[in-house]
């Protein structure tokens, strides 16, 4: 625990990103609501089934079109600067090695899915991030780059016409901007869901940097909503039933925590027994 799980720059940029991205998505949806469609006036658009349907107001930010635009065009600088700081740090400091897919990525991803779908008993051993996480954390920056480039293309379609043309023109650039936003939202929602459903202990690691490897999803063999409790509590229960065969095999150096847990359970079991003995006497 002396070593922090996430460097302070990663933790800082993570939370700045969380706030900035939320505001960008909210204000972007408010801007979208001013014309919730992609078709050029007098034409139709092939690839959006909800042309004309507004996004529910509670998902938007900025209050009105002008306010949302002001937020969007201010927050974009923070989001980009923060993103560059993160990517620059992750590259120079070597963290990228934990964030790119490794050889056998597809096989490892398949293993993770099998484990989550109960087709595999043991949590695959992938280290700091599992294959699905690596894939997600690798894709996210690229989607971010797409959202920034398409955003610039619809901000300056005349002055930066070659860029807008490269995206297929203004209408398509606006569509790619929307698609990139949807991808970011979906990945973020899944990310937050998995934090609470599989690894709530990672919240601490993303705030203070502290993390107890004994609570990692690998150590707890955690599927969504399964085995949320730290391993030492589970071991107590399992230890009572079947002389903790699988539990201790998962964590070799668990002896320190196992001792108080065992004594605790010993006490709680001792009490009723002694009471029974007393009543018999």
């Amino acid at each position: 625990m002396a070593r922090v799980r996430h460097h302070w720059i990663v933790r800082l940029t993570h939370w700045v990103n969380a706030v900035a991205l939320t505001i960008m998505v909210g204000s972007g949806l408010r801007i979208f609501n001013a014309y919730p469609a992609f078709a050029r006036r007098g034409e139709t658009f092939c690839c959006y089934p909800f042309e004309g349907t507004r996004i529910p107001a509670f998902l938007t930010f900025g209050g009105w079109l002008g306010g949302a635009r002001n937020w969007h065009f201010a927050m974009m600088w923070l989001l980009v600067a923060n993103g560059l700081l993160y990517l620059g740090f992750v590259y120079l400091h070597g963290e990228w090695r934990d964030l790119v897919p490794r050889r056998g990525f597809l096989r490892d991803s398949g293993d993770m899915l099998k484990f989550y779908l109960f087709a595999k008993h043991e949590h695959p051993r992938h280290g700091k991030h599992n294959a699905l996480q690596r894939g997600t954390y690798f894709i996210l920056p690229w989607v971010g780059v797409l959202s920034v480039i398409s955003g610039i293309a619809i901000w300056k379609p005349v002055q930066l016409a070659p860029l807008t043309d490269a995206m297929g023109g203004f209408v398509w650039a606006r569509y790619w901007h929307f698609v990139a936003m949807m991808l970011l939202v979906v990945l973020s929602v899944v990310h937050v869901f998995m934090v609470f459903a599989v690894d709530p202990y990672s919240l601490r690691s993303m705030v203070t940097g502290g993390y107890n490897e004994k609570n990692s999803p690998e150590a707890r063999n955690a599927r969504p909503f399964y085995h949320l409790l730290p391993n030492r509590f589970r071991q107590k229960r399992e230890g009572q039933s079947q002389a903790n065969a699988s539990g201790s095999a998962l964590i070799p150096d668990d002896s320190r925590d196992a001792a108080p847990a065992a004594s605790l359970s010993g006490d709680s079991q001792a009490a009723p027994e002694s009471r029974i003995q007393k009543s018999e006497k």
Binding site: Y35, A37, G63, L65, F73, W77, P157
Partner: protein, 237 residues
């Protein structure tokens, strides 16, 4: 700093939920207003630096003219129409810091060098429409009136209930910025700013004043109807 799990969860939980509640369809905190204004000023610097007189708008290949699908916006209660019986003959005034102020009737405008261009209309709302505009370049009017060095801004005024928008001189002098009297090969109708309006693909729709009355070359910026309401003043595309 020590903080137990329960404390952390309750603090972060209440912080996140209160932030969400505060943000739902709101304008955000009032205190951010100064920061947003600051960002707008800095964005204007970037936008001005990006402006090139050589960068031209061209509609995508195969794009159709919007025709009647082009929305018509004005701020008066009804479509503004110039009533000759009450106001006399319509004329466009060109004034401000110029050597020779002009008063141009529609016939005068029609005699000046004519430009026709098929360009995109970029609305602040996010839609675009392709239209063909015919008119006189603002740069031609500026040369005719003989603007002097002090002219850094242009205010386009209208008879639509006091609507106006002021521009930076550079955008006004762009080759695609015209005082348009024709749309899709016909004379401009009342819905789209008759007798004449400003049109430029280098500015968002709300900067392009319809129902023009005056074109003032000025040393200082004079805001505008939507700019004063909170949309960015520059509104460049």
């Amino acid at each position: 700093m020590t903080i137990d799990r329960r404390g952390f969860l309750s603090i972060s939980g209440s912080a996140i939920s209160s932030a969400l509640l505060a943000s739902c369809d709101s304008r955000g905190p009032r205190s951010a207003e100064r920061l947003l204004r600051y960002a707008e000023r800095k964005n204007e610097v970037v936008e001005r630096a990006l402006l090139r007189h050589s960068s031209m708008d061209a509609p995508a290949a195969g794009a159709r003219l919007a025709g009647n699908a082009l929305p018509s916006y004005f701020i008066s209660k009804t479509v503004p129409v110039w009533d000759e019986s009450k106001r006399g003959r319509w004329a466009l005034e060109v004034g401000g810091v110029v050597k020779t102020p002009l008063r141009l009737t529609l016939e005068d405008l029609l005699k000046l060098p004519r430009t026709t261009e098929r360009v995109n209309h970029y609305c602040v709302e996010g839609w675009t429409a392709v239209e063909q505009w015919t008119g006189v370049r603002v740069s031609v009017l500026a040369r005719l009136a003989g603007i002097d060095r002090r002219a850094r801004f242009v205010d386009f005024e209208s008879f639509d209930d006091g609507y106006h928008e002021s521009w930076d001189i550079e955008s006004a002098m762009h080759r695609q910025t015209v005082v348009a009297y024709g749309l899709d090969g016909q004379m401009l109708g009342p819905a789209h700013g008759a007798p004449a309006r400003v049109y430029s693909p280098t500015k968002l729709g709300y900067k392009n004043t319809k129902y023009l009355t005056r074109l003032m070359f000025l040393p200082n910026r004079t805001g505008g109807y939507w700019s004063d309401a909170g949309y960015e003043w520059y509104g460049g595309v």
